[in-house]
Amino acid sequence: MIFILRDPHRCSGCRLCEVACSLRHEGTVFPEASRIRVIELVPGIDVPHLCAMCPDYPCQKACEREGYNAIRIDEATGAPIVDADKCTGCGACIRACPGKVPRLHPVTRKALICDLCGGEPACVAACQEAGYGALRVVPATDRDLFQLYATLPQFLVERLKETYYGEAAGEV
């Protein structure tokens, strides 16, 4: 099992990860259908946002509760895998996620969750090859900590703002 560590301090906001993701999964450049997103609410402050693989998988549980069972957990990678045939686009997984990470595909209206590309994530390769290293693959050892990445970007932006611009910038 693997995990994608993410470092907002190293993230350039270039979104090569998003492009790589949508090329892999959609065959074209399709920002809204990327499973990984970089959110930039303040210029220069970039927060990668993707599945944190919570050990208790609230997304999967919610889907089960709705009776759809559209999410299964990949044994090798630990990624939640969405079965498009079973997904009804009800959004229960989104509402159950502490970081609101899943999104519905704008065209198919099926849930989008990072599938770790089966173990070799295209987003990480793009980020590494470009030299940023904001994303990196590590063994999924400390999942009780890793799951804390499941948070809304705003939670981090407030702190990052302070670090980058401080009070001198006024409200940003």
């Binding site: 259908a33 959110i39 519905l104 910038a169």
Partner: protein
């Protein structure tokens, strides 16, 4: 419908408060490609018989916000803005980095055209092909950072309410906007995005202001338009990334290595209003600028180069100033060109230009002009309202910049840009100050000089269809990278020049659209056609400025003064050399001896509808005799 395009623009009429979809024919797209080419064609198709009477700051001037077929696919994102320019009275294709370009493509649009003018301040909100005109009274008057914060907050709240629990976390809103300078119709006002991105050349911030249009926000949720060969496009993206990832220094310093390099290496950087072009000031080293970066690598959607760097000053008299890098142009124009030698002060002035929504190049140019007039005693502190415009006094320049953006005192005059300000000062003071105005056809020259012979060629600015725009200066042969013909591709495909070369982008064009065009064919067909359209518009000019190629296809007088310092001391181009190259260029591009595209050229390029306009230009020139 053509591959790689949505095939439509969305038209928003602010006067009538109506929107409609404008279809773009495949034939038009194939001949003009997008962005700059498409905008120039659409403007001239509509106004070729009355261009001279079209006031750039009137509601009749349509504002085009355009993408191109490569936008979103080719690494690095640019958005092209164009209209009749309030600087050159021609057409300038002006680009800025903004994810609005991606959003437009994802919204199923190739671009927007804004017509008319609102009575009260508004912004336009576009989502997937639908547009709303919304009140912007609460944003009017705000500087860049406050505009960004308020509009982002307002839109993001709306996005969250609509989407968070239904289809997931939305990305941050994307929009372009103007600062106080644009609102006040300052001719050197830029169209801005994300604090620091600016489309400066052309003065389209003023055009937005004249429409009472504070901002345009776009949200699109679809894919990029379908490509002819998607597999090949994927392959090309990988290849482009691999190449660009090797550009170590572009990534590392961006253009921020220029403040030292362009002066020390090629003696072509403006110093004190171009009185010199050389320095070897180690205080302006990239190492000095990077010490103020809080982020070394910053890029917009899909760009592996991330040449932007975030500077921020936490302490001292300039505390709170944030800008990107600054990039070379602003380093130079708000630094040595004003005698300012301190990176912190340059960061502050750059921040201030962004905050006010001013083009940093044009503003540095006009401030340098004013300071030289002050030095020479043509204007005094009585004219400047007490501001003592001494070289190197960043605070004085900051005050004058504010006055320009707000059109206060002498700022009102300088807000007209260097060409118009010089003309008025000549009239009012009875002194010839045109020799201190470093512009070509109303557009202040970019921070790359010609005198050393080591940077831009001497004939480049004189024959460019975008005047002093250093991102559109011709080079011979016309197939050369960085020349105007190549730049028309970059600006029409709407990609970033720094990520492009003369081969790969054309492969993208073929894979995306299916059209087989290489640099050779581009230069001799498409570029020639687009440049001819722009040349006709430029020479038609009006209503307040008209250019005569015999007089105005020339360098600013200053560029004939021998360099006073540095390793290329005493060098300057000769008038004969410029004249000779000018002739060679005219012949290459099919212009007649007056510099007007010939009827044969217009016919051959399939733009015979411009023959009447060309005839009007020739008539005016013959009536004016020798110019």
């Amino acid at each position: 419908m053509a591959y790689g395009y949505a095939g439509v623009l969305l038209e928003v009429d602010l006067s009538r408060e109506k929107t409609r979809v404008v279809e773009l024919g495949d034939d038009v797209l194939e001949r003009f490609i997008g962005g700059r080419g498409l905008g120039a064609y659409l403007l001239m198709r509509e106004f070729h018989d009355r261009w001279e009477r079209l006031d750039p700051l009137s509601p009749e001037n349509p504002l085009y916000v355009l993408t191109g077929p490569l936008t979103g696919y080719y690494p690095g994102v640019k958005l092209l803005v164009t209209a009749k320019s309030p600087q050159s009275n021609g057409i300038v294709g002006s680009v800025l980095s903004s994810e609005v370009a991606i959003e437009l493509r994802a919204a199923g649009l190739d671009g927007l055209v804004v017509r008319g003018a609102a009575k009260d301040p508004v912004y336009i909100y576009v989502e997937n092909g639908e547009a709303e005109i919304r009140d912007a009274g609460h944003l009017w008057g705000l500087g860049g950072r406050a505009t960004y914060r308020r509009l982002r907050d307002e839109l993001y709240r709306e996005y969250l309410a609509r989407h968070l629990n239904r289809d997931g976390l939305p990305r941050e809103p994307s929009f372009i906007y103007i600062g106080p300078a644009g609102e006040n119709r300052v001719r050197t006002a830029a169209v801005m995005a994300k604090w620091v991105h600016a489309a400066g050349y052309g003065g389209y911030g003023a055009v937005m202001g004249s429409k009472m249009l504070k901002a345009i926000a776009v949200r699109g949720t679809g894919p990029m338009p379908r490509a002819r060969w998607p597999g090949w496009v994927r392959h090309l993206i990988g290849e482009a990334w691999a190449r660009l990832n090797k550009n170590a220094l572009t990534k590392y310093w961006g253009t921020g290595l220029g403040a030292y390099m362009v002066a020390a290496r090629t003696s072509s950087e403006p110093v004190r209003n171009w009185q010199e072009e050389w320095h070897a000031n180690r205080n302006l080293a990239p190492q000095a600028f990077e010490a103020h970066w809080v982020k070394r690598y910053w890029g917009d959607y899909g760009c592996p180069s991330t040449c932007m760097k975030v500077s921020f000053l936490r302490n001292g008299r300039y505390a709170g100033s944030a800008t990107d890098a600054p990039d070379y142009e602003l380093q130079a124009y708000l630094g040595p060109n004003l005698g300012v030698q301190e990176p912190r002060a340059i960061i502050h002035l750059s921040y201030l230009a962004d905050e006010l929504g001013l083009c940093g190049i044009q503003t540095g140019n006009v401030l340098g002009f004013a300071a030289e007039l002050y030095e020479k005693g043509v204007i005094t502190s009585e004219d400047t309202g007490g501001i003592e415009l001494r070289w190197g006094d960043a605070e004085a320049f900051a005050r004058l910049m504010e006055a320009i953006a707000r059109r206060e005192g002498i700022g009102d005059l300088l807000a007209e840009g260097v060409y118009r300000a010089a003309k008025r000062i000549c009239e009012e003071k009875g002194v010839d100050v045109t020799r201190y105005a470093v512009h070509v056809k109303g557009i202040g020259v970019g921070a790359h000089g010609v005198r050393s012979g080591k940077d831009f060629p001497a004939y480049s600015y004189p024959v460019g269809v975008q005047g002093g725009d250093h991102t559109s200066a011709p080079r011979l042969p016309v197939t050369r990278q960085w020349g105007e013909h190549w730049m028309t591709f970059v600006d029409s495909a709407v990609i970033c020049a720094f990520n492009a070369d003369t081969v790969l982008p054309f492969e993208f064009l073929k894979a995306i659209t299916g059209w087989d065009v290489d640099m050779e064919r581009w230069a001799h067909e498409h570029a020639k056609r687009i440049i001819a359209v722009q040349r006709i518009a430029l020479l038609l000019g009006g209503p307040d400025a008209y250019w005569d190629p015999r007089r105005d296809d020339d360098l600013p007088p200053r560029f004939y003064e021998p360099l006073p310092s540095g390793p290329f001391k005493d060098r300057a181009p000769s008038r004969e050399e410029v004249e000779e190259k000018k002739r060679e260029y005219y012949a290459q591009v099919g212009w007649d001896s007056l510099g007007v595209p010939s009827d044969d050229t217009l016919e051959a390029l399939g733009i015979g509808f411009l023959k009447d306009a060309a005839g009007r230009i020739r008539k005016r020139l013959s009536e004016n005799g020798g110019g």
